[in-house]
Structure formats: structure tokens, C-alpha cells
């Protein structure tokens, strides 16, 4: 099956997934409300509790919230696919002359749009509660692109999870057990340097840390006078997180597509 029809069919499926935002209240809550809630909660509960010399903790937090939210957004990919596999519509897809990869491609693609919407809403909410972009606009744009790319890669991991579990609920548990700690043992909410040794080393090499570090830098949200990070990934956060995004996609995209073909075949 040609790449062209894989992309074309993927877009048809992506469009179908996006139509659902309007119709399914769950999706709306997930995409629209939870980002607002995250920003407000962190900004007001933690934002005023911790002092950062020379800067505002609230500004420091924003990149972390962005990072965590888009990575969490990948849960949606997994749950959506797991749900699709239980639905009758999959039988229809299987009998159509469409690309076998389209269902998974379409799902990860529509999730980029969801994440874009979530990011926009979070940014607006952030701006309202006092967050500011202090670097150039171009850098900031780059920051958002990095967030989207990284979350796209995590979507492929969750796609594989979603296609390997018996029900959508299991995907949520998987997220909670794996993604939750990974996004916390990082520099999302506190500087990595302040963590105890074992956690610190993990946090320093955690790609989510470098993602957050990169966006923080690109948004100009690192307070002046903050000491240079000592770990290599945090010194080269853009490079390191781009590397991880590419690596994850290269490994998990083929695995997820293969898994889809396998799952769709039997039953």
C-alpha cells in the first residue's frame, strides 16, 4: 500500500476522530477543561508557595505543566484505539480497500490537533494568570513545536499499549502507573538539582526533563542567575529531546502498525 494512500486514509480517520470532539462530552472535558484546571491548580496552589530567587515560580512551572499535559494527552491515543477496537466500525474498516496503517496514523494525527488545542488553551490561561514569554516569539513557537513533536512520539507508545490491552480502562491505569511517575521524576515542577541523588540522575537523563528544559529556555522562563545545569542532556535539551522524539517514533510507529494489523486480523 502506497505511502500516499496511507496518509490520505489516515487523514480521513483523523477527521472522523476530530468530529467526535463536538459530540462526545468526555473528549471535550479532556481536551478543553483539564488543561485549564491544571494551569490554575498549579499556578495558585504551588505557584505562590515556593519562592525562586530572581524569578517567579509560576513562570517556571508553566513549561512543566505544558510538558506534563501533552505527555498525558497520549493516554487519549491509547484509550481511543482500545475503544475503536471494541467497536463495530473496525469490522467495516477491515473490509475496505484502505491502508492498514490508516487507523493508527489517523489516531496519532488527530491527537496532535487535540494537543494543539490543549496547548493554546493552556497558554491563554497562563497568560491570564501572569505567565509571560520573555524570549523571542520565534523561539516560543519552536518551544510549542517541540512539545507537539514529543507528545506525538509518546502517542505512538500509547497506541501500542492501546492495541495490546483488553479494554480502554486498562490504558488509563497504564498511564497512571508509568507516565505519571515519569513526568514527576523530572524537572517539571522542581529543579532537577534539588532531588536526592538517585532521583536526580534519573531526572537529568529523563527526556521529559530536557523537553521541559528546552521549552523553558525557549520561552525565556529561566530566572537570571540560575546556575547552569551540570548534566549533558540538560545542557543540550533541544538536541536531546529531539533525539528521543525521533527514536521513540522510529521504534514504536512500526510496532504499533504491526500490532494493529495483527489485532485486526483475528476475531
Amino acid at each position: 500500500m502506497s505511502l500516499r494512500s496511507a496518509i490520505g486514509d489516515g487523514l480521513v480517520i483523523a477527521r472522523r476522530n476530530l468530529i467526535k470532539v463536538k459530540r462526545v462530552p468526555d473528549v471535550l472535558v479532556f481536551v478543553l477543561l483539564s488543561p485549564i484546571m491544571f494551569v490554575l491548580l498549579f499556578a495558585y496552589v504551588f505557584g505562590s508557595a515556593i519562592d525562586i530567587p530572581g524569578g517567579s515560580y509560576r513562570e517556571f512551572l508553566m513549561a512543566g505543566i505544558f510538558g506534563q499535559t501533552v505527555v498525558f494527552g497520549a493516554t487519549f491515543t491509547g484509550a481511543g484505539l482500545a475503544e475503536d477496537m471494541q467497536r463495530g466500525i473496525i469490522d467495516r474498516f477491515r473490509s475496505l480497500p484502505m491502508s492498514r496503517a490508516a487507523v493508527v496514523f489517523g489516531r496519532t494525527a488527530s491527537d496532535v490537533v487535540y494537543n494543539l488545542i490543549s496547548l493554546t488553551i493552556m497558554a491563554l490561561t497562563g497568560l491570564i494568570v501572569g505567565w509571560r514569554i520573555r524570549g523571542s516569539l520565534l523561539d516560543a513557537l519552536l518551544g510549542f513545536l517541540m512539545l507537539l513533536l514529543f507528545s506525538y512520539s509518546v502517542s505512538w507508545v500509547m497506541a501500542l499499549v492501546g492495541l495490546s490491552v483488553p479494554s480502554p480502562e486498562v490504558v488509563n491505569n497504564a498511564t497512571f502507573i508509568v507516565i505519571f511517575p515519569i513526568t514527576f521524576i523530572a524537572n517539571t515542577f522542581v529543579p532537577a538539582e534539588s532531588l536526592p541523588t538517585v532521583l536526580r540522575v534519573f531526572a537529568e537523563w529523563n527526556p521529559i526533563s530536557s523537553l521541559v528544559q528546552a521549552t523553558r529556555e525557549l520561552f525565556g522562563n529561566i530566572p537570571p542567575g540560575t546556575p547552569e545545569p551540570t548534566a549533558w542532556p540538560l545542557q543540550n535539551p533541544v538536541l536531546y529531546s529531539l533525539f528521543w522524539s525521533a527514536l521513540i517514533i522510529a521504534i514504536f510507529a512500526p510496532l504499533a502498525v504491526r500490532r494493529y494489523v495483527r489485532v485486526a486480523k483475528k476475531s
Binding site: V12, I19, R23, G88, R92, F93, S95, L96, P97, K265
Partner: protein, 337 residues
């Protein structure tokens, strides 16, 4: 006429269960063939293999000369399928469902949209077309699903129990639609449990049971195969049934059946008119009241009974309902001896 669907020795096992046990079939281009069989006969399994959804353990199959196992992607381009359970997206509207299917058949944006509207119209769904499918009734979903099979005007169509769950009006309307399709040269394989449906629609009927073809032919041929005429008697008082059966038994050329109706007995006979007249006189003399007396050609139900040793209706019933039928009933495996 050319052969367009062909299957040879299809075997499909699910653990212990043998869903298909060496099924052969052949469908000529431009005809309607009905796969007729009771629950669990293997109809859906056969359709699933022919439409590339599942692979058989043994055997081979082709559609328009294309091997279903070796080139499934090519087969999908020329088939339309409506499965037993409606495969539509309930969060999308009827229009969005059909439009999406059109695009996945690569009809293009414009064609997909116009085709979707056209089919909604044809299946009487125009008004509901822009409502999410979750607000549809079961019959509406069924019709939408059937419309989905027709989106690409595929030359070969597979409909798995297309009219199950439809009311009489929708069913009759659908039969008309299906007939029209065939006039345009399409080929159709449909499955059904309804003898009447096969009788109405199909040029050829394939009776399957326990995963095997047990008979194939036009409905007339099948009826001839069972032979002759039937006398069907309904007595006024069930207490008279054994006596009536006894008298019918003496003139019958085969086994008696109860035809699944109370106080009724059916006998295949060789010289219908005369025997019926004699019989009615004898009944009168014996004081047996008769509320219905019919001389008729065998129905497909008779055919099924004769072929499988069990009625289509009573598959799940282990216990014979009427004593006189016990010889014919029960779950005889395979062909009757």
C-alpha cells in the same frame, strides 16, 4: 455467465468448534445466491473468509478470480460488505459515516458526498441523515449499514442477514432494492435464516449446516429434490392427532412432520388430490374434526427438514414437541442416513 465467487474446501476451526468443515461454493456473475442455514451453521464465518476478514485453516477462495488469501487488498477494492452486526460509527451522523466510507474507497471528496446523499435518500434516511447514529433505531442503523456496502457500487456484494431486525415494510422495500441492484449486473451473496427470503430473492440457494454445504440449487430444484406434494392437515382437537397421524402415515411416501405448528401433521404423498379426498372421507367416518386441509408443494422448510433432520426453527430444542416427529427431529450431525 462466469463464475465470480468460488470457495474450495474451506475449513475454519475455533478450538474444538469446527465452524466450517470443508465448505465449497460457487456463485455465477450477476446472480443472487443465498446461504441458508440455522444459527451456528457457519454463514458468518464463510462470509468473513470471502471478504478477507478472517483466514481459513484450510481451503482456498477467490472473488473475480482474485485469491482472497494471497491478494486480500485487491479483493477489498471490488467488494461491498454489510456484516451481521451494524458496523457504523455511532458518534458520526449517517451522512458522515457514508462520506467516510466513500473516501476510504478512494472515490474522492465530491463523489463521496454526493453518493452519501443519494444513498441516504434511497434508504429513506434523508431526514435523519444529519443526526448522530446513536439516535437511530435498530432498523435505521441496519439500513445505514447496508447503504455502506453500496457506497462504491462494488460489483460483488456480501450481505450477512440483511433483513434481520427489519419490519415487514422495510424488509419488502429492501428486497426491492436488492432486486434492482442485481438488474444492474451486480452479484450478491447473502445469508439468511428465513426460507421466505431465500425463496423471494435468490436464484440459487446453498443450504449449509455444521459448516458444510448439504444442498445447492434453485429453490425449485431443491423442492423437486425432496419431491412430490405435501398433504397438511390441522385437526380441531389435539386428542385426535395420533389417530390422524396414523392414517396419514399409511399413505405417506416419507416421514411425517409436524411443521412446528400445533395440531398439525404433514405427509409427503405421491397422488395428492385423490389421497386427500379419500383421507377427508376417512376422517369424517372416524369422527376426526379437521380445521385445515391443504395440498401443497414442499416449502424450503420441508427441504431443510429432509436434508438435515431438523427444522430451522427448532435447532435449540432438544426435546421433540410432538411424539410422532421424534424419528426426524433431534440434532442429527451431518447428512441424514
Amino acid at each position: 455467465m462466469a463464475e465470480i465467487i468460488r470457495a474450495d474446501g474451506l475449513v475454519k476451526r475455533y478450538g474444538e468448534v469446527v465452524a466450517l468443515d470443508g465448505l465449497d461454493l460457487s456463485v455465477q456473475e450477476g446472480t443472487i445466491v443465498a446461504l441458508l442455514g440455522p444459527n451456528g451453521a457457519g454463514k458468518t464465518t464463510a462470509v468473513s473468509i470471502l471478504t478477507t476478514l478472517i483466514e481459513p485453516n484450510e481451503g482456498s477462495a477467490s472473488v473475480a478470480g482474485i485469491d482472497v488469501l494471497k491478494q486480500p487488498a485487491e479483493v477489498r477494492k471490488i467488494i461491498g460488505l454489510s456484516g451481521q452486526y451494524a458496523a457504523v460509527d455511532k458518534d458520526l451522523t449517517g451522512f458522515e459515516n457514508l462520506d467516510m466510507i466513500g473516501r476510504l474507497y478512494h472515490l474522492g471528496r465530491k463523489k463521496s458526498r454526493s453518493r452519501a446523499r443519494e444513498l441516504l435518500e434511497r434508504f429513506d434516511l434523508s431526514e435523519a441523515g444529519d443526526r448522530p447514529v446513536k439516535t437511530y433505531s435498530g432498523g435505521m442503523r441496519r439500513r445505514l449499514d447496508l447503504a455502506g456496502a453500496l457506497v462504491a457500487e462494488s460489483p460483488v456484494l456480501f450481505l450477512d442477514e440483511p433483513t434481520t431486525g427489519l419490519d415487514l415494510i422495510s424488509r419488502t422495500e429492501l428486497w426491492r432494492l436488492i432486486r434492482n441492484l442485481i438488474d444492474q449486473g451486480n452479484t450478491l451473496l447473502l445469508t439468511t435464516q428465513y426460507l421466505e427470503e431465500a425463496d423471494r430473492l435468490a436464484d440459487d440457494v446453498l443450504v449449509i449446516d455444521y459448516g458444510k454445504t448439504i444442498a445447492q440449487g434453485s429453490t425449485d430444484e431443491l423442492k423437486d429434490m425432496v419431491g412430490g406434494e405435501r398433504i397438511e392437515i390441522k385437526v380441531t382437537d389435539s386428542a385426535h392427532l395420533p389417530a390422524a397421524s396414523e392414517m396419514l402415515g399409511r399413505i405417506a411416501v416419507g416421514d411425517l412432520t409436524g411443521d412446528d405448528r400445533p395440531r398439525t401433521v404433514v405427509a409427503p404423498v405421491s397422488d395428492g388430490v385423490k389421497q386427500l379426498a379419500d383421507l377427508l372421507k376417512n376422517f369424517e367416518a372416524a369422527g376426526i374434526g379437521v380445521s385445515e386441509a391443504v395440498l401443497r408443494r414442499p416449502t424450503l422448510d420441508d427441504v431443510f427438514l429432509a436434508l438435515t433432520g431438523a427444522s430451522t426453527e427448532s435447532r435449540e430444542v432438544e426435546e421433540p414437541q410432538l411424539a410422532l416427529e421424534s424419528g426426524r427431529r433431534g440434532r442429527g450431525r451431518g447428512l441424514p442416513s
